[in-house]
């Protein structure tokens, strides 16, 4: 795509990579902003889909395990998606860390008194919440994808001999400590998205004053939080049990 053929002075055709403009774009302040917005948006969309998946816990064991089985069986898709998500995450983090460094450098001397007025604490702590969410995701993968945290719950099978994700979920969240970790993780994610869920509209220049949807960021984040925490909470309070929902 970036290769261009052209004749040199000696008449030999060479292929040269004209990446410079792309590199320049990626390194520019607004280019970085766009990268943050696009990777953030895709990760956010994944989070929404992921949440909807988990809501199927309310549909009972069969529904949930069918869904889990469906996902697991699509390995041609699964691995590219996982790889893609990982790349998105890494790019999102690396670019963010670059920005943090740059922003720190842009204000080497702090104010003795500084009173931000409209920015949210969530917005100003994106780097912290972001890294914390990253740590949480690592835990989550180790917990439910790799199965190291509660190995005893990881290998059960359901009546149809499918991997029993439903039980794993229930066993997991009946443990208040696990519940606590996820609760904290979701609070962090909600804070992160409280700023991020709508910020991308501005970053990509899609925000329009007639449609101030960007004000909905905190609401979207809260919605996501509720959606994610509903099944675990239902487990904890006994609405979702090993033997069914209700």
């Amino acid at each position: 795509m970036f290769a261009r053929d052209h004749a040199t002075a000696r008449g030999i055709r060479v292929t040269e990579f004209h990446m410079t403009w792309l590199v320049r774009y990626a390194r520019s302040s607004i280019g970085a902003k766009h990268i943050m917005a696009v990777t953030g948006l895709l990760l956010f969309l994944f989070a929404v889909v992921h949440m909807i998946g988990h809501l199927q816990m309310f549909g009972g064991r069969d529904m949930y395990n069918t869904y889990a089985h469906f996902l697991q069986s699509l390995w041609e898709v699964k691995w590219p998606v996982r790889a893609g998500l990982l790349v998105l995450l890494i790019v999102h983090i690396i670019v963010a860390l670059g920005l943090v460094a740059k922003n720190r450098a842009a204000r080497p001397e702090r104010y003795a008194k500084f009173k931000p007025v409209v920015s949210s604490a969530a917005g100003r702590t994106m780097a912290f919440t972001g890294l914390a969410v990253f740590a949480f995701i690592a835990f989550h993968i180790i917990h439910f994808t790799v199965g190291w945290v509660q190995p005893e719950a990881f290998h059960t099978l359901d009546a149809e001999k499918r991997w029993d994700a439903y039980s794993m979920f229930v066993i997991g969240f009946q443990n208040p400590a696990i519940y606590g970790v996820y609760f904290a993780g979701m609070v962090l994610l909600a804070l992160h998205l409280g700023h991020g869920a709508a910020s991308w509209l501005q970053s990509l220049g899609l925000r329009h004053p007639k449609y101030p949807v960007d004000r909905l960021g905190p609401l979207i984040a809260f919605g996501l939080f509720v959606g994610y925490m509903a099944p675990p909470t239902a487990v904890l309070v006994g609405l979702i049990r090993m033997n069914g929902v209700g």
Partner: protein, 261 residues
Amino acid sequence: MSDLNLTLHVWRQRNAKSPGKMVTYKVTGVSTHASFLEMLDILNEQLTAKGEEPIAFDHDCREGICGMCSLMINGRPHGGQRATTTCQLHMRHFKNGDEIWIEPWRAEAFPVIKDLCVDRTPFDRVIAAGGFITANCGSAPDANDILIPKESADDSMDAAACIACGACVAACPNGSAMLFVAAKLAHLHRLPQGQPERMHRTQAMVTAMDAAGFGNCSNHYECEAACPKDIKRDVMALMNRDYAKAALASRDRETKSDGSG
């Protein structure tokens, strides 16, 4: 109304190279009708009488339009009154006995020259990079040959009202200058005259902004809240969009060649 006696904590710094510190002063007998800068005048007169060197601060028009005055007052640029510059801020908004913190704009790109004065020339460099319409004197068509819808002219004027005071940079937790840069871009890009150079201008000004050492925008909008001319975040959305188009989908000026090699 009675006069005010105040305690001020003011940043003093001899020059760019020496370190500075906050120094506390008492100022007495300040009329509530005085402007904030007149209050500093009074303090400077009192310091002069004591043989202490007056505090340096930038100002010129004292009517809110030249953009020369600055000052972080109690943690807010220009003192935080809506759409008001420091020179237009009046002492009736303070109470007798108040303590006031006064600091210079803080940004890597705006080094302190002395006390409360900073160097804002990076703004000029950003404009020099592309904040203009190439129209040599004498080449213009009749002004009514190009019709401009009233709405466009009004929107353009909203952005053009920027006074380049630097409050946006001072207010931004990241020391970013995007509101300033975007305001100039929006001023020109909301007019037909600004279209021919639109893509190049956007790229050139953003590049100059980045080179000056400003921070990046995280969409906090502190700049918008601090802007004494009420410039809206919309201008930055426009810039962000144009920049994508400029960087990814338009021809760079440097690569243009007339074939002569």
